[in-house]
Amino acid sequence: MFDKRHHPSVWLRSIICAGVLLSAPQPAEASDWQLHGFLSQGFTISDGNNVNGDSSDGGGSFDFREAAVNLSWRPSPRILLAGQVASVRRGKVNTDDVALDYLLADYQAYQGNLGRVGFRAGKLKLPFAFFNESRDAVHSRPGILMPQSIYLDNDGARAFGYFSGWGAAVYGDRYYGRHNLAFELLGLSEFAVEDEAEISILRRPASGRFKHERGLLLRILDDIDGGRWRLALSISDSLLSYSAGNAPPFDQSGDFVLQQAFASVQHNREHLSLTAEIVRRRIKLGDLISHPAVSSHTDQDSFGFYLQALYRLPSQSAIFLRYDERLREMQDRNGHRQAAASGLPRHYFFGRDVTLGGNMDLTKHLGLWLELHLVDGVLWVNPLDNPDYGNGQAERHWSLVTAMLSYRF
């Protein structure tokens, strides 16, 4: 029987595979092939709520591991083929399964003195805000735990397809004096999301299944003076579908829209980097609920931002201070209205995190990261690692210390 659900992705994947096989195998230098990867082990100990495993039971948790290997090949100067597989374990949120992270063909169609244009297709990393496409490796993201406001780090973002998706993109650069203006426009096709996706979207386990139907993502980035100032605007619009199970409140099958807009700014000096990013997300879930009384879980207009100051010390080390705030409802900053509507404590509707962190390169390949988080609110506490979350028992004021050792090559 013809299965409509997998149709475009299967086509796309076939085209990519054919492209890989048909690329003329010209004589290549050894440098045309590159193999890179990393293996990171985290440790988390917390007070109040669990993060990345049973971190609050006294002994801490080692249930946070990340590993990835990627291979890239330039069969000709204009073409790049690349793929990465990753395995991530984060408490009960991500299992150790090895999954395809990206697999793509990239063709640089034009390169002139004033800019370039190219195309890529396959399973692509999603380039929004400053760090989403490079968030897998701890050394290319802002800390062990990313700012939860923008990157939905602790609540199933990977399962939700927030990291990468099947599609095609056009990208380009244009040089204007001191500016390097870059854009990427991605069209995303159908792809299934994993079982844990409901945590990102619904903030609770649900019996239904989600699927990404289609999406569009645009990022415009301005690097001024070689990146002394960096400015980015990203917008995305995704249509998702939900096949309802029979457990309330999300008992109706249907489609819903997730719209996101991000603004990012960074200032880089020799020792100091200042970064700020904000996001606004709109999600309409009302069609998934048959019971009219459950109003607090329908349409959301959420907001988040963070500010981070990083200072580089001698001998390849750095310290940073960050304030991160995520609100489930932009117009209800302290959660009073949502608490009254849902019966949950108001601290379930915000998360404010003050982070002090640092890192040091022990060798060229080995690095150590350490962070202290002081958190007010439990908006991004994961229900899978915290069985009492759903009944309102999560502690409002809590803290965690996390460390990570990472080897890269």
Partner: protein, 136 residues
């Protein structure tokens, strides 16, 4: 005193850095924006069609910092972040790392489309296979 002055003079004279390219490249000069694109690994072929091959020293080599700051007007960590973004998104490859200035000179000389850098010196042009690429 004279020794101190002499050392100061020599160290001043030895500072500065130049982009060098394989002689196969048609051009003798480049805009700073394009050069940043080349070392940022966003440019895969020169506008005349030659494939770009970038050679660098280790991030913590003084000559690397000198080139980044003096010529690109950037910091080594900014290039490293840009390369990491490419590697972990599958949209590019980092440059080829060489272990010495001698290896830099040799690899750029023997590779078509190659670009690297060397400390400023009248000796750069003695190798007929490499030439200085001036920044406009």
């Amino acid at each position: 005193m004279l020794t101190v002055l002499a050392v100061l003079f020599i160290s001043t004279a030895a500072s500065g850095s130049e982009a060098i390219v394989n002689v196969s490249l048609q051009r003798d000069s480049v805009s700073l924006a394009l050069l940043r694109g080349v070392f940022g690994m966003r440019v895969r072929l020169w506008p005349d069609g030659e494939p770009v091959r970038v050679f660098v020293l280790r991030d913590d080599a003084p000559e690397h910092a000198e080139f980044c700051k003096g010529v690109l007007r950037m910091y080594p960590y900014q290039l490293r972040q840009a390369w990491d973004r490419l590697v972990y998104s599958g949209t590019g490859q980092p440059p080829i790392e060489v272990s010495s200035l001698e290896e830099m000179r040799r690899r750029v000389a023997e590779t078509r489309g190659a670009i690297g850098y060397l400390p400023s010196s009248p000796d750069i042009g003695q190798n007929e296979q490499i030439k200085v690429l001036h920044v406009r």
